[in-house]
Symmetry: C2
Subunit: 390 residues, 2 copies
Amino acid sequence: MKVICSQKSLVNGIQTVQKAISSKIGLPIYNGILLEVTENQKVHLFSTDLEIGIDCYIPAQIIEHGSVVIPNKIFGDLIRKFPEGNIEIEINENNVVHIKEEDSSQYKILGFSAEEFSPFPDIQIKTKVRLSQKVFRDSIQEVLFASSRDENRSFLTGVLIKSVEKGIEIAATDSHRLALKTILLSGRDKSKIENQFEVILPNRALSELFKLLTSEENHTIEIGIEEKQVVFILDPEEEQNRIRLFSRIIEGQFPDYHQIIPNQFKTVIKLDTDEFRQRMERITLFVKEDLNTVKMESHSYDQQKSESRGELILHVSTPDIGDAYEQIPCLLTGEYVEIAFNSRYVMDVLRIINTEHIEVRLNGSLNPAMIIPNQSKENYCYVLMPVRVD
Amino acid sequence: MKVICSQKSLVNGIQTVQKAISSKIGLPIYNGILLEVTENQKVHLFSTDLEIGIDCYIPAQIIEHGSVVIPNKIFGDLIRKFPEGNIEIEINENNVVHIKEEDSSQYKILGFSAEEFSPFPDIQIKTKVRLSQKVFRDSIQEVLFASSRDENRSFLTGVLIKSVEKGIEIAATDSHRLALKTILLSGRDKSKIENQFEVILPNRALSELFKLLTSEENHTIEIGIEEKQVVFILDPEEEQNRIRLFSRIIEGQFPDYHQIIPNQFKTVIKLDTDEFRQRMERITLFVKEDLNTVKMESHSYDQQKSESRGELILHVSTPDIGDAYEQIPCLLTGEYVEIAFNSRYVMDVLRIINTEHIEVRLNGSLNPAMIIPNQSKENYCYVLMPVRVD
């Protein structure tokens, strides 16, 4: 194999595919990037940790076909430190990679045989759906944080993606809280979904995908569902710059989350989102990691009215640090309430909601609570369990 | 004690003095900042790890005198998260610190009695010298990296500051290399040095001082030498914004470094600094941490001339990574040479030299080498021992 590529496209290609590499996997070859030339004018780059995989193509002048796996770190660091310009990559029989930038820089890196590298199989796609990258990126951000980090319950470390009547639902839960987003699809896009689907993907697949997606308008992503894996194709209409992310599907039954979402509430509290976030950020400084509780209490100025002005009082007390107290003006409907939450669970959702106002909806101090943006068009809800305190 | 300060000046004050706090010291009180009111309109802030100390004053409305030590981390984080505006700090009898921002935010932090906190004693200043902050800041940067990190040879973990005929010398060495800077003082400034001095200061004192100094012109620093400590006063002419850094003096005899600085050379190599740095950065990617060697070899195009064009060849070979080769155009005087260095020692000095050209001066492959900026007005030299290779 012998190719000449621009430093810039090599850097981009390496940065893209190396996101699939994970330190979890012990085999040195999987810390590598597969480089292969099978077509003219293009080099194929691919990395995988056997759970997810990312590939892309970069333009190149092909002098000789072939393939090799190159250790990712030294390869990426070296290419990044070259000046802009052309770089020649040549592989000899023993998988030694010769890298040259003019005659004054010559490097040899020990590579691996591409035959020992496991690609993601190309299987028949059952169904596919196309949507905006920006919409999908925002939705991942709104849901992903609620998935579990507990590897013992692998299906809760995943994120559910499911076709529903209105479009697509994305859900994640760690059994203490649930984040649910519905992406509405227009009639035309919906009718293109040939078969209904419901898959659980590892949260790592979506967090790496998130980094690859753009928030610029007019970029699309195609989700292709296969038997045991899902493939995300970025900018599928562009043959040249297309990036694909493959992910294994997690087997297991996702909890029936619709039944735990309450639809009636005894107390509704409307707050300014920024003010709630800033005061929560301050007060959580006083929370100890093993005892994450923040207490909340509603104070109404005029309980006669159906919706009255009042205050939400936040309180944290940690014996060896001190004591913290914040009050936030709010609009209250319904019963007085005193409740406690894991402060991290509240902060997580406040970080991603960007509407001006927010609603906290409660059913007493022991039942699931709900936090939602104060705009129904968001199609987003976050349900969390309170913490019992005395 | 009861005071009202602006959030902004509190944040600045805390950020300044907390640099003296070190995790090395086990006593919780020394993770704190001393706040005290002894004069009107000002709060005094002070932190120390008993090796160095930093203090400053911030403007305040004083309602009641007194003092307390407040845990640094929670105090700094909390004040930083408050909006701009006034903050009220009140201490009760049990050293509980009450912090209020309007009535809607109220915090209590458990503090310590100021009586248990050890200040730096005010001793008689033997001599003092004033110079530009920018000049002193640049000089620290040029020398500090060469000091030793080996705590067993405490006098080599220090930096020497010494009055000499031309001005002030700053030197650091870890016994494998030496960095030496001479700060030239004008006749007027020099005549103000009443007594000659020679002190070794811990490198931490100078690295924290470096962060406090500005590279803007027209700011001065006063160095006051006492019996067992040195005090640096930033902007000594300004009564209000004055910051002081105290440092213990390290006892011990600094090596006689002048005798190891060679003054005749068999080979002199002139290089473009940026090109040398970039190629060294690339090639050191192939160096293993425990075997840091880079080989250098001079190639002349015309050995007849006293100064000829040629190349410096860099070479690194690490069995399980690969092989790296770079060549740099240069001007050569004197003998052919092949030599090896610890690559980190070369990179360290290339990072701080910012003249367009650089000179590598050698006396064969076993004797100390010298790297200097190619401008004599820099008054800087870096001496390093080569590594013996076969």
